[in-house]
């Protein structure tokens, strides 16, 4: 296993861990963090595998994609956090309302 693939598999691990927390944890802050960890996992997969270029510098395209992805993740996280604050303000609870209680 090359180093590149090792990093990529680590990225997969982060992705899986994040997904676990996203499903299992009820606290919204944890869910938001979980999504961030998943995102980092995907970014790691993208960049790590770019290292497989036989000679010369690594493939720059995935790097550019990751920068784009990070900005998107920052934006999404900011929106999620503010939304979380509003949910806590209106319901008093940092978790999703029961959909059946409408």
């Amino acid at each position: 296993m090359s180093v590149a693939v090792l990093y990529a598999v680590t990225g997969l691990g982060l992705f899986s861990l994040g997904l676990y927390a996203l499903i299992v944890r009820a606290h919204l802050l944890r869910k938001i963090l979980a999504l961030n960890i998943m995102g980092s996992g995907v970014f790691l997969v993208l960049t790590a595998l770019a290292r497989r270029a036989p000679d010369g510098p690594p493939d720059p395209v995935p790097h550019a994609m990751v920068i784009t992805g990070i900005v998107v993740a920052v934006a999404a996280t900011a929106l999620a956090l503010v939304l979380l604050r509003r949910v806590v303000e209106t319901t008093g609870q940092p978790r999703l309302p029961d959909p059946d209680s409408e």
């Binding site: 995907v42 929106l79 999620a80 209106t90 309302p97 959909p99 409408e102």
Partner: protein
């Protein structure tokens, strides 16, 4: 590096709403005017594109061309989706002009967000690059969530939160699929991937990840749980946008990937049958839930769950009879967009007028809003699949495909779905005729809101009569390939 002359119209469809969003953000007081002007312009350009497009066009942004650069592609399928978003978008813009007139606080948030969402939609329908699709998908998701939360009620915020989490999860699954495909085949251009991709584990893994991510966003059963609360608790113009357009976008991506990358690799009947089965369950479950609802907007939202189910019947049917099934599905999607927008608008008028959306007490309201009721009924006819309507044509084509395929179970689902739709819609329409005391506290509904609902509803009837030109447009560039 100057490319051959290609039409700038597709580019304008992305940049006009973006510029509109920026301007309406800076010049807040003029937001509504700017928004409506943008909407009219986008609509006109979409129509112009429809009449000028004779063969599919590829537009290399920056002049680089795939795989280094990003290409935009217009073919019949994108064209129909663009027309759909242009028509519903114009309708919603006019409606929103009336709706938000009395709520300037919300209006100034609505216009830039909505125009941003429109940018994302048009960009998405034109994209030919799976990473670019990811960016448009996120732009779409975030603006949709922000719009869904605009209502500000606890239900709206909770619904938006859930929507955001699901949307982000879907995007990440999709992005992981993009990463796999790029690193396996060295391109993110859909056409190149279609040429290079071969049936191997990494392709299958990408297929599964991307499909799961996208059906999450499309709210296919059993991932539909987030849709009804988010769509029902949003403010009415937003509900119309979410149900009519936003969910179609992720379906569109799925369809594109499927047609150009995955289907030629023959991933096996298991995949298509499973998607079809989930679609069938969505039709049944969504309809039954709609029948159970006591609130009008929730009923309409569950109806969306059901109607989205039909789209997935295309997978098994296209595997059996070829492109005709996709034609049917796209026609259904188009009709649903108009009909659902009209329904949510009419429901919005009813809520605005009577101050509530309890179905059992609607009789006090609907009789005094004959235009909205007419819009509701006419749009309902299309959802039931009764003639003359686009929904009828779509259902006819789908039935034809199912019968030709000899797959009778889908036939039964399609027919039962239609009857259930009639049941839950007539549950509402029936109240138009009961004798009810006239309510006293009623808010005036701006006429433009009633008329736009009605015009969109009548649009579904026109879709039932003006079929062949639309099908001819859809066939531009043969987006569904040739049948088996």
């Amino acid at each position: 590096m100057a490319a051959e002359h290609v039409s700038l119209l597709p580019v304008l469809l992305i940049f006009l709403p973006l510029i509109g969003a920026l301007l309406s953000f800076v010049f807040r007081r003029r937001a509504a005017g700017l928004g409506i002007a943008t909407a009219v312009a986008v609509f006109v350009i979409a129509i112009a594109l429809a009449f000028s497009l004779t063969r599919p066009q590829r537009y290399p942004v920056g002049g680089w061309g795939a795989p280094l650069g990003i290409d935009l592609v217009v073919d019949g399928l994108s064209l129909i989706m663009l027309l759909m978003s242009a028509t519903v978008g114009l309708g919603v813009s006019l409606y929103a002009g009336g709706y938000f007139h009395a709520r300037p606080q919300l209006a100034r948030a609505f216009w830039p967000l909505w125009l941003g969402l429109w940018t994302a939609l048009n960009g998405l329908f034109l994209a030919a690059d799976i990473f670019n699709l990811y960016v448009t998908l996120e732009l779409l998701g975030l603006s949709a969530v922000a719009l869904a939360a605009l209502g500000g009620s606890a239900a709206a915020l909770g619904g938006a939160m859930r929507y955001l989490l699901v949307s982000l999860l879907g995007s990440l699954l999709y992005l992981l699929g993009v990463a796999l495909l790029y690193h396996a085949f060295g391109s993110v251009d859909i056409a190149l991937l279609g040429e290079r991709a071969s049936a191997q584990p990494v392709t299958l893994a990408a297929l599964v990840l991307m499909t799961v991510g996208l059906i999450l966003k499309t709210a296919l059963f059993p991932f539909h749980f987030w849709l009804p609360p988010a769509h029902a608790s949003a403010s009415s113009p937003v509900s119309a946008l979410l149900s009519a357009l936003v969910v179609k976008a992720s379906f569109y991506i799925l369809l594109r990937l499927w047609l150009e990358i995955f289907e030629p690799l023959n991933p096996g009947r298991g995949v298509t049958e499973l998607l079809g089965l989930l679609g069938a369950l969505a039709v049944l479950w969504g309809s039954l839930q709609a029948l159970r609802q006591t609130r009008l907007k929730l009923l309409i939202a569950y109806s969306t769950v059901a109607q989205l189910g039909y789209l997935f019947l295309g997978f098994p049917l296209a595997a059996a009879v070829g492109p005709a099934a996709w034609q049917a599905v796209i026609y259904l999607a188009l009709s649903h967009a108009l009909a659902k927008a009209a329904l949510f608008m009419a429901a919005g008028n009813i809520v605005l007028f009577g101050g509530h959306d309890r179905i059992a007490d609607l009789d006090r309201v609907v009789q005094r809003l004959p235009l909205s009721l007419a819009a509701f009924a006419i749009a309902g006819i299309s959802l039931m699949g009764l003639p003359p309507s686009g929904g009828f044509i779509g259902k006819w084509l789908l039935l034809e495909a199912a019968i030709e395929a000899g797959q009778w179970w889908w036939v039964v689902i399609i027919l039962i779905g239609g009857m259930l739709a009639a049941a839950y819609l007539f549950k509402v329409i029936g109240f138009a005729f009961t004798r009810a005391p006239v309510s006293h506290e009623a808010n005036a509904v701006p006429p433009v809101m009633e008329w736009t609902a009605l015009v969109l509803a009548v649009g579904t009837v026109l879709l039932g009569l003006w079929v062949s030109p639309l099908l001819a447009w859809l066939a531009t560039g043969n987006p569904f390939g040739v049948g088996p």
